[in-house]
Subunit: 367 residues, 2 copies
Amino acid sequence: MLEDGWNTEPFKLVEKEGKLFGRGSTDDKGPVLGWLNVIETMQGLGIDMPINMKFVFEGMEESGSEGLDECLEKYKSFLSDVDFVCISDNYWLGKQKPCITYGLRGLSPFTLEITAPNQDLHSGLYGGTIHEPMNDLCWLLSQLSDSKGTILVKGIDKMVAKLTEEERSLYAKIDFDLEGLKTDIGVEKLTSDDPKEILMRRWRQPSLSIHGIEGAFSGKGLKTVIPSKVIGKFSIRIVPHMTPEEVDKAVVAHVTEVWKSRASPNKMNILPMGGSSLAWLGDFKHPHFQAGVKAIKKVYGVEPDFTREGGSIPVALTFQNMGKNVMLLPMGASDDMAHSQNEKLNVSNYVNGMKVFAAYILECAKI
Amino acid sequence: MLEDGWNTEPFKLVEKEGKLFGRGSTDDKGPVLGWLNVIETMQGLGIDMPINMKFVFEGMEESGSEGLDECLEKYKSFLSDVDFVCISDNYWLGKQKPCITYGLRGLSPFTLEITAPNQDLHSGLYGGTIHEPMNDLCWLLSQLSDSKGTILVKGIDKMVAKLTEEERSLYAKIDFDLEGLKTDIGVEKLTSDDPKEILMRRWRQPSLSIHGIEGAFSGKGLKTVIPSKVIGKFSIRIVPHMTPEEVDKAVVAHVTEVWKSRASPNKMNILPMGGSSLAWLGDFKHPHFQAGVKAIKKVYGVEPDFTREGGSIPVALTFQNMGKNVMLLPMGASDDMAHSQNEKLNVSNYVNGMKVFAAYILECAKI
């Protein structure tokens, strides 16, 4: 194993036991190449393309899709005759059964900065005499959610869409293997033992994650420093009907109030970062989704699950707001470990995924 | 200003406005060079060295002095005829008046590790469904000390030596400029407004500092990751009569108890790190210290303060335990910013410090 937890070189594609390992193999170089291979193959076999297709490739999706909305606005007339949008940047719910995705969470990221002295200080010379910023920051970060991950920011729960009976019935149909999930990621206990509750927490409930701290000592070993300026990074995955504007307001108010009770002389600054996005819910009753269903049935012989996803792809909502029906058609499986060590794409998912893409093209022509 | 907060290249010595800027200028290349310059100068001037001197140079003092004690043990017979030990690895209490130092705090460093999933996870895909290690770690770190820095570990306060009237009277003589200190380091408020109380907190009270977290995102910008294994680094500066063994026991017991109340399914591991050290208190009534006093009087024309220091130099105690009288004779001033950005040594401190060293050599011969 390499020092960073990878078993192979991240930027070299390695095929092993039916899996393609490498950074971006499943998120999202595999699916992108898949689409291009399908077109090349159809051309090679002399099959007439039965629909017109336009591609939008972007390289900043993991960095807030900077400039993408502006670009789409600029090329609006070029895209004006597009009816359906298909995005392949998500995963199956499990490892066996394909799915089609009609919903995504949005994102509200924040920085929480505490500053005190002009510069880092020696913990021997100053420890005990100043109010240390890391002490304040750890405490403040601990006031954002409780031990079960429930968000403590006042008002957040009231923003979340109520669960209707119709929506509840959608969850009843989905078979979700909690034990398999726990084994895959290596945790003994999830925040609920009920698979439906876990799906709801992922799909229709907000969640708060603390990603890390900038400015403190982060290396191996010990450095007896008092860091002078520390910046906590956290984000909230948001769901209907939350808006980043309302979430920003609630978080700033909560942190400001909690900070007051701390009575620290240090400076605190809570700031919404750029790159926030709304949640997206697509119209899955549209015939476009049926083209996806038929394509999957043709290749895999099963009816796909209709799923939502916990991640965020802001451009889905942008396209929908441009009047297009948007569908997410995934290639990879749930254990592909996007964004993590040993990211992979199964060869079978890659090959069958391309077949699904081809079948989808043919089905779209029939709408 | 460079990105890391330095105004000049740290590893290039830059003289500016009477100050020598560079990493190690005051801690501890300046004083080391100073001693060598004194010997070279005395030889150049044909002055007979009136005492025998043996030097111990080490390069691991900032990394727990690994191997130093073993080395001194090995060369015990070589050092057996040494009567006095002088270490120049500390600072004046302020910026104007020299001092001699007779006490140091010790150090008990710890790692606090929380692990859950096998690997880092995507906060969109897993946020809300697992118990996040960073959430647990921030909370645990916030349970070590309160907003004023008071250590919450049970039993620590009882280990601290009681303040005697004799000791209290020593503080009465020391003139310590709190306002100057606040301006130098850029904080508006210290943990006390009483200069004597601040000195006691630095010299004779334990303090706890959180240095940082290994394993979480520490870069600029945002990474929407759930870190799987996060390691908090903190340390306690210890004072008489605390021992690292007792402190380790108390910290492990406290963290274990607090962790239980959290009821998290994640794995917690609290571990004392290597490199702990006892506090040191020297015999400042010994004639050896008078040699230092006379040397300082000769060069600066003032009686030096007798101070203790908040930092740790474990070898001071090692030498004392070998039966030698140990004294700390500093060269630099309080605003030299050892371990921090823009570390400097005043040219005047460098030059006068060397004169003090030379005078000290001559005074030692008279003992």
